[in-house]
Amino acid sequence: MSETAARPLVEVQDLARYFDVSKPLLNRLLEGGKRQILRAVDGVSFDIPRGRTFALVGESGCGKSTVARCVVGLYPLSRGKMIFEGVDIASMRTREAMRPFRRRLQMIFQDPYASLNPRWRVRDIIAEPIRAHAILSGREAIDARVDELLTQVKLNPRDGEKYPHEFSGGQRQRISIARALASNPEFLVCDEPTSALDVSVQAQILNLMKDLQRDLGLTYLFISHNLAVVHHMSDEVGVMYLGRLVERAPSKELFRFPRHPYTQMLLDTIPDIDMTGRQRQPVAGEVPNPIDPPPGCPFNPRCAFANDRCRTEVPVAKRAGEALVACHGIEEGRVPVIERVPAPVAA
């Protein structure tokens, strides 16, 4: 095997993205007050082998979407690297340098009502990447390709003449997927692609995405707050809390042996459809303000196992079994790890 085959398609190293949320300079001078930096993402690392799915889960505001936007280059990174096939594309400063990579990584957005320009016909929306990257030329060739893409996402080629408002949420998400596929990408970043959809439609879209992954060999970065969806879709899972990865493990391992107390808490909240009599635990506490995170482990105010070390020292990710866990308690063996029966996924 050559080296490129062994190397993951996507490597994210120590990715960080800070936002300056301070008041304008004039207000700061007049009213006092310091600069305020929001550390939306602070040192996240993972890699995704070709053809696999890596999922990021976490509560609202933990930085999942910011990671997605950094990875596709919508936000510049404050620190770290985003390596695509061995090339750090986050360090590229010009649009021209980015150009060859733009075609190869695409994004599917959360809200299918906002991600399609309401004034464009579906045919033109899907054809935009094809025209932008001059992948095909000539009206007939482009039309044929758009028809093919529409069929691929299980829509009718005649739908191309319509406008986005004539479609349902699920159909719009199919259009969104067709647009993302139009430039023949290898890597798709999916930012909560199903969370705006009905449950029945979610399953259809997820299965479509799985079929496309199998047929086209796509690599996914899958962002979701829905653990059932993540279980269904992913090969590896990263659990995010307050801008950091607290646990990273293969999907099977994570759902069977959740290690980090936060992961355990998340899994406890999954509805118990099988009526096994398991007591569901409500999510305790709230996510702290990321502008002013607690010292030490960011999870310590909500953690039942926190001790003095947790309140002062930031834990680093250490290997525990098949997982990478950033937790002093796991490292010291004070947090019990119980095997669970993963809830079967309806999807």
Partner: protein, 313 residues
């Protein structure tokens, strides 16, 4: 939904206009219909003046000084040749109004187009790029807002008179007026467009275009611009009435269009001298035309604002 037409044979333009929501709401109100008909009549009269006007007021050979100060036909001493009377030079009032409206409308449309292009362009750039450029453009706009439009127009006119040689100024007078009015009205476009762009910029379809790798300028023109044109159209319609009135004011003050190309404002100014000596029609009829024109355009603008606002549908 109507069945999608086969590619290559879209429904005809007229069909689409009469099927549209806009046409429906237009026919709902007699005020709107009335304004529409008024504007249509006035515009046709103005554009068709060389053909439709009963007299050619620019041809000195046809002028009869003997006919000066003829009152309208329904007043004693009226002459059926001059339906609404003549002015101090014996020019047919109806014809001078038709020709004068040409100038008024021309200046109005040109000024609106000028401020629209300037305002929309600056608003797009300010809203999309943000930061320092945005702050700079909007502060200039604030300063501009601190001056009344007519003052800026007077200033531009004064500067151009001082800077340009006299014969050259007469040639360029029309352009100067257009520029003066256009410059004084661009802020409302810039502000509206900037606000809308800042909303649209954050939407996912713009982000999607960025991920595809479309150039920011192309995103602005092809994605953002069509979505901000609704409010711009409304402002432009209301702005047209404002521009026509500003031009009339400038011409009334004698700093607008040159006397060789009289607009409605020039006609009113001319008639103003005879208002108290009994020849009221010389000032009143151009004035009435101006009122009807500005009012109709304004009412159309109000209708357009409501019709394009999805919350009021």
């Amino acid at each position: 939904m109507t069945a999608p037409a086969a590619p290559g044979s879209p429904p005809g333009l007229l069909r689409r206009i009469f099927d549209s929501d806009l046409w429906y709401s237009f026919t709902r109100s007699w005020i709107t219909m009335g304004s529409g008909i008024c504007v249509l009549l006035l515009v046709v009269g103005a554009l068709g003046a060389p053909v439709l006007a009963p007299h050619d007021t620019f041809d000195p050979a046809t002028l009869k000084l003997m006919d000066a100060f003829t009152p309208p036909v329904w007043v004693e001493g009226g002459n059926p040749t001059y339906l609404i009377g003549t002015d101090n030079q014996g020019r047919d009032m109806l014809s001078t109004i038709m020709f004068g409206m040409r100038i008024s409308l021309l200046v109005g449309f040109a000024a609106v187009l000028f401020s629209l292009v300037l305002g929309v362009g600056l608003g797009l750039v300010a809203g999309y790029l943000g930061g320092t450029i945005d702050a700079l453009i909007m502060r200039v706009a604030d300063i501009k807002l601190a001056f009344p439009a007519i003052l800026i127009a007077l200033l531009v006119d004064g500067v151009s008179r001082a800077a340009l040689p006299r014969d050259m100024h007469d040639q360029l007078a029309l352009y100067v007026v257009v520029f003066a009015i256009g410059v004084s009205n661009w802020v409302s476009y810039a502000r509206t467009v900037r606000g809308t762009v800042m909303v649209e910029r954050g939407k996912d379809y713009v982000q999607a275009a960025r991920v595809i790798g479309i150039h920011p300028a192309v995103i602005m023109v092809r994605h953002v611009l069509p979505n901000v044109m609704g409010p711009v159209l409304v402002i432009a319609t209301l702005g047209l009435a404002l521009a026509i009135l500003t031009e009339a004011t400038l011409s009334f003050l004698g700093v607008g269009v040159p006397p060789t190309q009289p607009s409605l404002g020039t006609l009113i100014r001319n008639g103003n001298d005879y208002l108290f000596s009994g020849e009221w029609w010389i000032a009143i009829f151009p004035g009435l035309t101006l009122v009807v024109l500005a009012l109709s355009v304004n009412l159309l603008g109000d209708w357009l604002r409501d019709a394009l606002n999805p919350k009021l549908r």
